[in-house]
């Protein structure tokens, strides 16, 4: 009961703050935090849960350099989301490139968040971005991006000790997708028993777990281009 009251009070407090500030202010809060990161390298573990795709977790390294260079290096075949985890932040960097509209509030994992819709002013890959911003810490806890190239993707950010730099410990990408299916003739799948459900729509998730962040070490551009 006490916990519920605390949540309601913090929600009201957040709502009063929301009324006082514009969506752009919240975005600036987020950007100020992330702007402290010029580049980073980290270890990454990727877990997959995609309908019709059986892929064991993969470990590797991840590199980022401002404003928008991002690369995941792993051994072997790996499926990655089309958008980098900092895709939305790259767009938000230029405040004249988009229009931000506040569209209410919601509690995400017990944290009161304000919802900001972002509409690019020019024609970009992003059509619409919906951001759930924690106004007290200046962090995007959740975002829903609708893009031309990859449809709609939901991104959940989970922060750890490096929340001060807006660097998450864990990011979960959720994508609406149909179960992967190959025509029998193409798969040369003669005389096999199919026990798994057929093409049913579902959601696929890719979870990126970050660890051992090394920040602002002046990463070379070569990291993002070499084979």
């Amino acid at each position: 009961m006490r916990k519920l009251l605390a949540v309601i009070c913090s929600l009201f407090a957040a709502l009063f703050t929301i009324k006082a500030q514009t969506p752009q202010t919240y975005i600036s809060l987020v950007m100020n935090r992330f702007d402290k990161v010029k580049d980073y390298a980290a270890d990454i573990k990727i877990n997959f849960n995609l309908p019709g795709v059986n892929l064991t977790p993969v470990a590797g390294s991840v590199f980022y350099k401002a404003p928008d260079k991002f690369r995941v290096k792993t051994k072997g075949v790996v499926f990655l989301p089309k958008q980098s985890p900092h895709f939305a932040l790259s767009l938000l960097r230029d405040s004249t490139a988009y229009t931000a509209v506040s569209s209410g509030s919601e509690i995400i994992a017990g944290v009161p968040c304000i919802i900001v819709n972002v509409i690019p002013n020019a024609e970009t890959d992003l059509i619409l971005g919906k951001l759930w911003i924690d106004p007290s810490r200046g962090l995007i806890l959740k975002s829903q991006l609708t893009t031309r190239s990859g449809g709609t993707v939901l991104i959940d950010n989970y922060f750890g000790p490096l929340w001060t730099h807006a660097l998450p410990d864990r990011i979960v990408f959720t994508v609406d997708m149909a179960r992967f299916k190959v025509p029998k003739a193409l798969a040369v799948d003669i005389n096999t028993r199919t026990s798994k459900p057929q093409s049913t729509p579902g959601t696929g998730t890719i979870e990126l777990q970050f660890s051992n962040y090394r920040m602002n070490q002046h990463l070379s551009d070569k990291v993002f281009t070499e084979e």
Binding site: G52, T56, V188, I190, T194
Partner: protein, 279 residues
């Protein structure tokens, strides 16, 4: 006994039909590998287009492991014919040429002669599988390099790590050998009942085609019957590319396949040792 097996192997080696299988495999492997070398990327793009809508697939998908898997899938359907060509001729061929009487006059028991023929037929089957695997993987690696294996199934896509690929291929080829040994024993059994080599070869292929068609029909009434057909279990080699390994299914299929081999050999042996040689 070893001497007898050696003689039987020599007979197999002396027949031109023995090399048809090896030549056919070499041609098909070359054609498939070169076709993929030219257009493989477009083919994979087409197969994976639904996934590429949402994801970036990083890493080299088109590699020697994938080529070997694709070729195994394609050829495993045709391999029984190549096996039947030789195994179906082992006893009936001698009967048609009239040498079986001379063979049985040697100081060996009929059982020894029968099992020497079966072992020789199995050695040929093993050599054929080994040739297929070595050629598919060897040319594949030479043209496309190594890497993780993308197993394309009609209802699932499995990615096998490069370090796991070798033992899985070895196990799958061994399993394919067990499967084709059923065909060897079946052809040998029919060969015991015939005085010409065409009948057992054609009969073997007819049975395999009928069983394969029944196996492909998705009719509930046939479901229980399907699990008794050896052709249903002949594709079990593919299960070595599942993650995790369906061990129960693999073991049950191996037991059923071995059961078929023993059954066919008992019938064949029983008939051969009691056969009245008239020509």
């Amino acid at each position: 006994m070893l001497n007898l097996i050696g003689i039987e192997l020599y007979k197999i080696l002396k027949k031109p039909r023995t090399y048809i299988g090896f030549a056919a495999i070499a041609i098909i492997v070359l054609v498939v590998e070169l076709s993929f070398y030219a257009d493989g990327k477009q083919y994979l793009d087409f197969v994976l287009q639904s996934l590429r809508q949402h994801f970036v697939i990083q890493g080299e998908i088109l590699n020697g492991s994938l080529m070997c898997f694709v070729i195994l899938q394609m050829l495993i359907v045709q391999m029984p014919l190549l096996v039947a060509l030789v195994a179906g001729d082992l006893i009936s061929g001698e009967a048609s040429t009239g040498t079986v009487r001379m063979l049985l006059s040697k100081p060996y028991t009929r059982s020894q002669i029968f099992f020497a023929k079966y072992v020789a037929g199995s050695v040929y089957t093993f050599a054929l599988i080994l040739w297929l695997g070595a050629l598919a993987l060897g040319i594949g690696i030479a043209l496309f390099g190594t890497g993780d294996l993308l197993v394309l199934k009609s209802d699932e896509l499995v990615v096998i790590k490069a370090e796991d690929v070798w033992w899985r291929f070895s196990a799958a080829l061994l399993m394919a050998f067990v499967s084709l040994s059923v065909v060897t024993s079946f052809s040998l059994m029919l060969s015991c009942f015939s005085d010409n080599s065409i009948t057992p070869i054609v009969a073997t292929m007819s049975v395999i085609i009928i069983f394969t068609i029944i196996g492909a029909l998705e009719i509930p009434m046939l479901e229980k019957f399907k699990s008794l057909l050896f052709t249903t279990h002949m594709v079990i080699w593919r299960n070595f590319f599942d993650n995790p390994l369906p061990m129960r299914q693999i073991v049950s299929s191996v037991v059923i396949l071995l059961g078929h081999i023993v059954l066919f050999l008992i019938i064949a042996h029983r008939h051969f040792v009691r056969k009245d040689i008239l020509n």
